[in-house]
C-alpha cells in the first residue's frame, strides 16, 4: 500500500517533467521555424549586389546597402547617447543615492520608460528632437529618439552590473585610503563592464529592429545616395522591410525575405556577441 503510493508519486513526477520539458522545447520551435523559413525563402536574393548596391525600381531590383548602413548608423548613434548616460545614471543610482522619495521616483520612471510604446517615443522624438531642437528629420534625431527608448535598458543593466560587484572589493579599496570615486573608476566599473556591455549590445540590437519610432523622425523609403551627415534622412532595414512588404505591389517574395534575413542576421549577431561577452566575463 505504502510502496504503491510512492510509485504513483514517481509516475506523477515523471509526467510533470515531460510536460515541463515539452513547454520549454516549444520555445525553440518558433525560433528555428522563423529562421528556416526566412533562409528558405530569402537566401536566393542574397548576393553581392543585394548587399552592396542601392535599390532600383522601387526596391524590386538592386540592393539594400543604404538600408543596412542606415541601420548600422542608427545602432551606433543610439549607443553613443544611451550608453554613457546609462552608465553615469547607473553609477549614481547604485553608488550615490539612498532609498528616498527621489530614488523611488527615478525607479518608477525607469520602469515606465521601459513600458512606453515605441510609437510614443517616435512622437516624442518628433516633438523634441525634430521640431523642438530643430534637428529635422534626420539620423541624429532618430538616434536620439532610439537612445531615449534604450535608456531604460542601459540604466537598468548598468545599475545591476554595478550592484553585483562584491562589497569586499570596494571595502578593500576604501580601506587603503582610495577615494570612493577612484574605487568606482578602478574597481567597480572594470568589474561591472561585461554586464554593462551586454546590456548595451542588447539595447543596440533592439534599436536595430525598431520600426515605428523611426518612421516618424526621419526614416525614408528611398533616399538618393548613402547617408553622409547626421542631418541626412536615411533608410533603415525594418522600415524598408515594412514598405516592400506592404506598399509596393508586385514585389518579389525573395526580396522581402532577403531583407528580413539580413535584418535578423544582424540582430542575432549582436545577441550572440552579448552572449560571448557574458561567457568570457564569467570565465575570468
Amino acid at each position: 500500500m505504502e510502496i504503491k503510493n510512492i510509485k504513483s508519486r514517481y509516475l506523477t513526477q515523471r509526467v510533470a517533467i515531460v510536460i515541463l520539458a515539452v513547454s520549454a522545447l516549444l520555445v525553440i520551435i518558433p525560433v528555428i521555424g522563423i529562421i528556416i523559413y526566412m533562409i528558405a525563402n530569402g537566401y536566393s536574393s542574397l548576393n553581392w549586389e543585394f548587399l552592396t548596391a542601392s535599390p532600383a525600381q522601387a526596391g524590386k531590383a538592386g540592393g539594400i546597402l543604404p538600408a543596412i548602413l542606415g541601420t548600422v548608423y542608427l545602432m551606433l548613434g543610439t549607443i553613443l547617447f544611451a550608453l554613457p548616460v546609462g552608465i553615469m545614471a547607473g553609477v549614481y543610482l547604485s553608488e550615490y543615492t539612498r532609498a528616498n522619495w527621489l530614488t523611488r521616483l527615478i525607479n518608477m520612471a525607469i520602469i515606465n520608460l521601459a513600458g512606453v510604446p515605441s510609437i510614443v517615443f517616435g512622437l516624442f522624438g518628433l516633438a523634441v528632437f525634430v521640431l523642438g531642437l530643430n534637428l529635422g528629420m534626420s539620423l541624429l534625431a532618430a538616434s536620439l529618439t532610439l537612445a531615449a527608448q534604450a535608456l531604460a535598458m542601459t540604466i537598468t543593466t548598468s545599475r545591476e552590473a554595478i550592484i553585483a560587484v562584491p562589497k569586499e572589493y570596494r571595502e578593500g579599496s576604501l580601506a587603503i585610503g582610495v577615494s570612493k570615486w577612484q574605487t568606482i573608476r578602478h574597481i567597480v566599473l572594470p568589474q561591472a563592464s561585461p554586464g554593462i556591455l551586454t546590456g548595451a549590445i542588447l539595447a543596440m540590437s533592439r534599436a536595430a529592429g525598431e520600426t515605428a519610432p523611426i518612421i516618424v523622425v526621419g526614416a525614408a523609403f528611398l533616399v538618393g545616395g548613402l547617408p553622409v551627415s547626421p542631418f541626412d534622412r536615411f533608410m533603415a532595414l525594418p522600415y524598408h522591410l515594412y514598405t516592400v512588404s506592404a506598399h509596393i505591389p508586385g514585389m518579389p517574395g525573395e526580396i522581402k525575405w532577403g531583407v528580413a534575413l539580413v535584418l535578423i542576421a544582424m540582430v542575432l549577431f549582436f545577441n550572440m556577441l552579448a552572449g560571448i561577452v557574458r561567457i568570457k566575463a564569467r570565465k575570468r
Binding site: R98, P166, E168, Y169, E171, G172, S173, L174, A175, I176, G177, V178, S179, Q182, H186, I187, Q191, R284
Partner: protein
C-alpha cells in the same frame, strides 16, 4: 609547545607594555548605533603605538564594529550613528572636516575574508600607491618588492607577479592583502579576524608576520580565537554582550594579566571556555 592548554600566554619581552603616555588610538565613552540597534555601548579604550592589541569576545559582541570605528568603515552603513570621542594621534576623527580618505591611508585595514582584487599580484600591491599618484615604474617596482618582503610573501610570488591575485592560496591571498595595505605606508593596521578563513599553518604564518610588523606598526586585531590573542597580542580587550544586547568592554589589560589573572569573573569564564 603547550598546545593542550587553553591559554598559551605570550611571554615576549615587551609583554609589560602599558597603554600609558601618548595613546595612538583612543576611545572615550563611545556608543555606536545601527538604527535602533545599540551595537557598542560606552567603550573607553587607549591603544599605544608599536603594540598588538587583541579584541576578543563571543560572536555578535560588537568586536568588528568597534574595530571599524578606528578607520570610519562604519560610515559605509547608512544607519550607523556614533556618539563619544575617537581619537587618532590626539585628533578627533569624527569631527567635521576630517579627510576620511587620508585617515584610511594612515589607518589601514585587513579583512576577514582575503579580498585581493581580480588583477595581477603586482597590480594588487600597486593599487593604493597608484591611486595616491605614484606613476614612476621604478618606484612602483620598489614598493611592490618592499611590501611583499614585509608581508613575507616575496619569495613565494616573485616569479609570478603578473599572475592573478586570486590564483594563489588563501593564506597567500591574505598576506597579499597585508602587502597591499603596507604599500600605502600606514601607521596603524586594523585586522578583522584575519585568520578565520585560513588553515592552521597559514594562520601561524600570519601570526609570525604580525609579531614582526608590530615593531613598526600599531596593530589592532579582532579575533574569536583566544589562543591567537594569547599568542600574538600585548594587550587584550574583552567584549561581551550586555543584557540589552549591546557590546560592552568587560576588561582591558595586558594579555598576560587577562589570560592568567583576569579580574572579572566573566573574563575568567570566557577564557576558560565556560561559555562563548
Amino acid at each position: 609547545m603547550n598546545q593542550v592548554s587553553m591559554v598559551t600566554v605570550n611571554n615576549k619581552n615587551n609583554a609589560n607594555v602599558q597603554p600609558e603616555g601618548e595613546a595612538r588610538l583612543r576611545m572615550e565613552n563611545v556608543n555606536l548605533y545601527y538604527g535602533e540597534f545599540h551595537a557598542v555601548k560606552d567603550i573607553s579604550l587607549d591603544i599605544s603605538s608599536s603594540s598588538i592589541t587583541a579584541i576578543i569576545g563571543p560572536s555578535g559582541c560588537g568586536k568588528s564594529s568597534l574595530l571599524r570605528l578606528f578607520n570610519r568603515m562604519n560610515d559605509l552603513i547608512p544607519s550607523a550613528r556614533i556618539e563619544g570621542l575617537v581619537e587618532f594621534d590626539g585628533v578627533d576623527i569624527y569631527q567635521p572636516g576630517i579627510d576620511v580618505v587620508e585617515l584610511r591611508k594612515r589607518v589601514g585595514m585587513v579583512f576577514q575574508k582575503p579580498n585581493p582584487f581580480p588583477m595581477s599580484i603586482y597590480d594588487n600591491v600597486c593599487f593604493g600607491p597608484r591611486r595616491h599618484g605614484i606613476r614612476n615604474k621604478r618606484a612602483l617596482d620598489d614598493i611592490v618588492e618592499k611590501s611583499l618582503i614585509q608581508a613575507a610573501l616575496w619569495d613565494e610570488v616573485k616569479d609570478k607577479l603578473d599572475q592573478s591575485g586570486l590564483s594563489i592560496s588563501g593564506g597567500q591571498q591574505q598576506r597579499l592583502c597585508i602587502a597591499r595595505v603596507l604599500a600605502v605606508e600606514p601607521e596603524v593596521i586594523l585586522m578583522d579576524e584575519p585568520c578565520s578563513a585560513l588553515d592552521p599553518i597559514a594562520t601561524l604564518k600570519i601570526e609570525d608576520l604580525m609579531r614582526t610588523l608590530s615593531a613598526s606598526y600599531t596593530i589592532v586585531i579582532v579575533t574569536h580565537n583566544m589562543q591567537q590573542a594569547a599568542r600574538v597580542s600585548d594587550m587584550t580587550a574583552f567584549l561581551m554582550v550586555g543584557d540589552d544586547r549591546a557590546g560592552m568592554l568587560v576588561e582591558y589589560g595586558q594579555t598576560s594579566e587577562i589570560f592568567t589573572n583576569p579580574k572579572n569573573k566573566k573574563t575568567e569564564d570566557y577564557i576558560t571556555g565556560r561559555f562563548g
